[in-house]
């Protein structure tokens, strides 16, 4: 600092330590609870010294909550959303920035508007859509009265119905959350800062658009991609409302939703040690991703909102 302020410096460090402890307390408490046996965890107040039951509790949570299956589902969902968003957005931004066509502005505006529609505000119709992907087609079919026309030709009543349900499927968990205006923006923003000469040179060398994309654009976007991988993985892993709606089968649900079943209700024995052991397992993957990829994560977060 500029001048010597020993008192303020002391205050700074004390405040930071207190802040870190207070922010960390919920998870610290969860870790301790996860190491204790039932008779310890239900003591009032719970002892603050860790026990030796961590592995036992984790095993119990794993089995009771069917966490193996659910963590796998979470992993598929989070990676699916991450990869899907990044690929779709890279292609979209490439098209918007590096090509010139009549509907480009319209395409851009169309994508832009979705910024304003989080899944939470359109849950019922989005759910209907996922329940039958061919719903709109059926609507058009019915509106045109095609059933009666076919029936007339065939001479007897025929009813045609189109159905493709995404409920309880990985596609249903992933696809509706894949379109992302923010990722497209980020890539667009970044592509616009890339010097014109690169594209000119590539064209002069006779490179096709896709060669330019794979050989130049994607390698240049590495940092942005890394940052988005962290952000979108955390986003996908932590989704709540959508998996809650779209999965009814326990085997298809994600870990964040499934954890709910481990929380003791007033009638159950107070198995908080099992609940907390399960919580640690579910929290661990995204926390590790954020901690290990911190540099990219912060860069992506701050840049994303530019």
């Amino acid at each position: 600092m500029v001048e010597k302020t020993p008192k303020l410096d002391f205050f700074t460090y004390v405040a930071l330590i207190v802040g870190i402890v207070v922010v960390g307390f919920p998870i610290l408490y969860a870790i301790i609870a996860a190491t204790l046996p039932l008779e310890e965890v239900s003591k009032v107040p719970m002892p603050m010294i860790p026990g030796d039951q961590l592995l036992v509790n984790i095993k119990e949570a794993w089995v009771r909550g069917d966490l193996g299956t659910q963590l796998f589902n979470s992993f598929i969902m989070a990676s699916g959303i991450t990869i899907g968003k990044i690929v779709v957005s890279l292609f979209g931004a490439f098209s918007i920035v590096y090509f010139d066509y009549r509907f480009r502005t319209l395409v851009f505006a169309t994508v832009f508007c979705t910024l304003m529609l989080p899944v939470e505000v359109r849950i019922v119709p989005t759910y209907e859509m996922a329940a039958n992907l061919f719903g709109p087609l059926q609507g058009v079919w019915n509106a045109l009265g095609l059933d009666s026309i076919i029936s007339w030709f065939a001479g007897h009543d025929i009813e045609v119905s189109f159905e493709l349900s995404l409920l309880d499927s990985y596609a249903g968990l992933i696809l509706p959350l894949t379109a992302s205006a923010t990722c497209t923006f980020l890539f667009r923003q970044f592509f616009l800062t890339i010097p014109e000469e690169l594209c000119e040179a590539a064209k002069m060398d006779g490179a096709s658009p896709m060669t330019f994309f794979w050989k130049i654009l994607v390698p240049l976007s590495k940092t942005n991609i890394a940052a988005l991988v962290v952000i979108e993985f955390v986003y996908g892993w932590n989704q709540y409302l959508w998996p809650l709606l779209i999965t009814t089968n326990q085997k298809m649900t994600t870990a964040v939703i499934g954890l709910q079943h481990l929380i003791p209700s007033p009638e159950d024995p107070p198995d908080w040690h099992i609940a907390m052991a399960g919580t640690l397992l579910v929290v661990l993957p995204p926390v590790l991703v954020v901690l290990f990829m911190q540099r990219w994560f912060v860069k992506g977060l701050v840049e994303r909102e530019k």
Partner: protein
Amino acid sequence: MLRKRSYFKSKGLAYLLVLPQIIITATFFYWPAIRGIVSSFMRSDPFGLKSTFIWFDNYINLFKDPLYLKSIVITLIFSGSVALLSISCGLFLASMANRALRFTALTRTLLIWPYAVAPAISGILWLFLLHPSYGVVAIWLNRVFGLNWNPLLSSRDAMLMVVLASSWKNISYNFVFFLAGLQAIPKSLIEAAAMDGASPFRRFWSITFPLLSPTMFFVTVMTIIFSFFESFGVIHAVTQGGPGGSTNILVYKVYQDGFIGLNLGSSSAQSVVLMLLIVFITILQFKFVERKVQYTG
């Protein structure tokens, strides 16, 4: 709209590239949004067999419904408290971390991780801490302050619990932005003020704080959006809108009326109100933030 002067000519490829985005956007954003708007003007029976067009009746009923009006008030109290708590804590910790020069990276690591915790899990962690019979904080509150703390039965305590759980998760997000904002402020400005004899507190209020105001605005908008929408996880996992509807925020009410009550017309009207709200917030954000906020990562 900006574009490159140098571009590729193949129009077919251009459309092909943007097609996946258009298909997904049309299928999962536009069609549902239009359906939602249409059904907000309809009354349909719970099985969706029959529906009649009723103009603005759903909206009129909505704003006559004391439960909805209560939900608006609850949402305002909830988001206001979450914003106040998480922004002040985030700013305080960021300015402290910014001062602790040698340890900035370390403190960032130790404070950033709650971002990765799902809102629902944040709710579960705080439920455990504040549980009337087993929670260490709850027991402490009861013993030290003689409070009859019980978030499972008391409306006030339940609200406090969801506010704490949501704010806790959001502190780390705000912290990241404030720290980035603080580090972008030119050191020379602070040094010049110090040479003129301004105390650290004076410098904070007269220089840092005004320069940080665009970040402040942005963080406020984001926190409000978070508390409006993403807090769904906290509410659903912990209180389910209860006790007695005391934590039934707007987004939870959409879900409850739509999926549990099967009142599609009302739920759609509520969705449209929320949509208008977020459109308003987004425009606000673009108008002010796009132009004024300057970050250097």
